[in-house]
């Protein structure tokens, strides 16, 4: 990669289109990771630095369910999603909520502490070895002409839409969802009408972790599991959430696709290693010039 005065390589349309398509698939994975993060931000107004670590933990759970019990990663969702909810609920209710004394900046640090503990526990117990799940169908797929899409990629794409849709339905159609929205809009008011805010916070956090657990199931067939896998996604997930507008599900979905496509095109034009800089650059620009993101209403 030359530095200054380099000229952009020129590609045919099919190459560009192919990169865009693979960007969409990559983006669906980013959206999957980001949707739980944006939910937590929208309600608790905290940036959950432990999100990546929780993703990693869920991926290990999926891996071991397959490795030890032979459960298919997609089927494992039935176990890790409720498990993720319970874990997230407990984590928020008994650790993060208690330790942060209701102060946003302390919460930030507590989630960072949680992330460090989880990541290093994984390192301690599971070592840095990469572990991957090979499902029998992981190389089968559909030829899209410009690119070949394997079933795990298609599953992630469909999954990202379904999870966003399910969250949206939950938030608008159920009583718990309505209570969550009430808390996110008017914390004190919700308390006054008898909503248990601590419980709602924990439920929200639980749902956020459940989302990340679902994402883990969809990721494991394509990504090897190791203790650092979470931190690989976490900064991207922050970017997606900020770009989409903190707290917006649609924003997370659209933001995910935008980032995925940008990254792939960045790799195509700037090279494998420098290509990812596009993510940091977008992140910095959005934070500075449009902190409310594309679909956000109000900055926190």
């Amino acid at each position: 990669m030359e530095l200054l005065g380099f000229s952009l390589p020129s590609y045919g349309w099919s190459t560009i289109f192919g990169s865009t398509i693979s960007g969409v698939f990559l983006g669906s994975i980013y959206a999957l990771v980001a949707v739980g993060l944006t939910l937590i931000y929208g309600v608790l107004h905290i940036i959950n630095f432990a999100h990546g670590a929780l993703l990693m933990l869920a991926m290990y759970a999926v891996y071991f369910l397959w490795n030890i019990l032979g459960i298919d990663p997609y089927l494992a969702m039935l176990i890790v999603v409720p498990g993720g909810f319970a874990f997230g609920y407990g984590l928020q209710r008994f650790i993060i909520g208690k330790a942060s004394h209701g102060k946003d900046e302390i919460t930030l640090l507590v989630t960072l502490g949680v992330a460090i503990v989880i990541e290093n526990m994984a390192l301690f117990f599971f070592s840095a070895t990469e572990r991957s799940v090979r499902v029998p169908y992981d190389l089968d797929g559909i030829d899209l002409g410009v690119t070949y899409a394997v079933y795990p990629e298609l599953a992630a794409l469909v999954g990202s839409f379904l999870i966003t849709l399910a969250l949206w339905a939950f938030m608008t159609r159920t009583d718990t969802g309505k209570a969550i929205r009430a808390v996110s809009k008017e914390r004190q008011g919700a308390q006054l009408v008898g909503i248990n805010v601590d419980h709602i916070f924990a439920v929200t956090f639980g749902i956020g972790v459940a989302c990340v657990a679902a994402a883990a199931s969809l990721l494991v067939p394509t990504y090897a599991v190791h203790p650092q896998i979470g931190s690989l996604f976490v900064l991207i997930a922050f970017t997606v959430v900020v770009l989409g507008g903190m707290g917006s599900f649609v924003g997370a979905l659209v933001g995910g696709f935008l980032i995925g496509v940008t990254e792939q095109l960045g790799r195509l034009y700037l090279g494998e290693s420098l290509g990812v800089i596009t993510i940091s650059v977008i992140f910095i620009f959005v934070l500075l010039f449009r902190p409310t993101g594309l679909f956000g209403v109000k900055a926190g």
Partner: protein
């Protein structure tokens, strides 16, 4: 605690730090002390902006790494003396810090948003240092030539082949000197108008503005001071290890190390980062010595401990270990000297 009690406390601490290695006379323990003081300085760099100014950076690796790379590259590419390179390193890091501060504070980023943008800049520099091979040597890093001539030890700022005293204690007293200077600056800052205004900005930015404080300038000043201190850690690191690579320089571990010590020790206090660093490294070392055998030298134990201590301190000691020490002191002195 009265000013006199503080001064006596500092005299004891600094005398201990000055004499302890001579007494211990063990390479292992001196390494341990060097690491502890290194993190204490790194932590003070974070503490200036985070502890006193209330702006929590999650990307101080940006400052550390930039300093380390300038120090390494000026020697590696241009053969510039390390003693001259260090000033370029400090100035370069201050420029980078000022740029990040200018953008963040001009556009009013606070709290989580400031944390995120510092993280983003560190990440951007990580990618750049890996990709721009023609400048940074890419992912393999920069390895400086080892000086084997004892006569050149001081000129090359390398003590591996120096005389017996420098060989054993050179880097310890280097980091000790850096600590002395940076802590003296912090001590002075705490007792200056700038320090008072910085704390006012942390406590309430609107009130600070209303009272005539140029909050933008004060925060910018703090990030510059923070940068200079953190840069000195980068310089020290390169001279000690003669090596730097993207992950060490700009990876998240230095950003995290920088905030552990001051938060655990006590935010916005001069002694906090030192106390925090001594505590976490002490606990880490004690763990290794007691149950290290049983753990079989597996990685991750240190950080599990540090992370747990961080959460516990946040939960139970809002003012960190300093708060605890002051409470004990108050009780011992019968509440006379609060």
């Amino acid at each position: 605690m009265s000013e006199r009690a503080r001064l006596s406390g500092w005299t004891i601490i600094l005398l201990t730090l000055a004499l302890l290695p001579l007494y211990l006379h063990s390479a292992r323990w001196i390494d341990f002390l060097e690491m502890t003081l290194f993190v204490a300085v790194l932590g003070q760099g974070w503490n200036i902006l985070g502890g006193y100014g209330g702006q929590y950076s999650f990307g101080n690796a940006l400052l550390f790494g930039t300093g380390a790379y300038i120090q390494a590259l000026l020697q590696f590419k241009f053969g510039i003396s390390p003693w001259i390179a260090m000033w370029f390193a400090i100035a370069g890091v201050v420029a980078v810090g000022a740029m990040v501060g200018f953008l963040s504070f001009r556009y009013g980023l606070r709290g989580s948003y400031f944390a995120l943008i510092t993280l983003a800049f560190a990440e951007a520099f990580l990618v750049l240092s890996r990709s721009l091979k023609s400048i940074t040597e890419g992912g393999s890093g920069v390895q400086l030539a080892l000086n084997q001539d004892p006569a050149q030890a001081i000129a090359t700022f390398q003590f591996n082949f120096a005389g017996p005293f420098l060989k054993e204690y050179g880097f310890y007293y280097t980091i000790f000197t850096i600590l002395l200077v940076t802590y003296a600056i912090t001590w002075w800052m705490e007792r200056s108008r700038f320090g008072a205004q910085l704390v006012a900005v942390r406590e309430n930015e609107d009130a600070a503005l209303a009272l005539g404080i140029n909050t933008f300038k004060v925060k910018l000043g703090a990030i510059c001071l923070s940068s200079a201190i953190t840069a000195s850690c980068g310089v020290y690191y390169v001279q000690k290890f003669l090596f730097i690579e993207p992950g060490i320089a700009f990876g998240p571990s230095k950003s995290v190390e920088a905030l552990f010590a001051p938060i655990i020790g006590g935010l916005g206090t001069v002694v906090g980062p030192l106390l925090g660093s001594v505590f976490i490294h002490g606990v880490g070392e004690a763990t290794k010595m007691t149950i290290g055998q049983a753990l079989g030298g597996r990685p991750g134990v240190d950080l599990i401990l540090f992370g747990t201590i961080l959460i516990l301190v946040l939960a139970f000691l809002p003012r960190g270990l300093v708060g605890l020490v002051e409470a004990v002191w108050k009780r011992l002195s019968g509440g006379r000297d609060a």
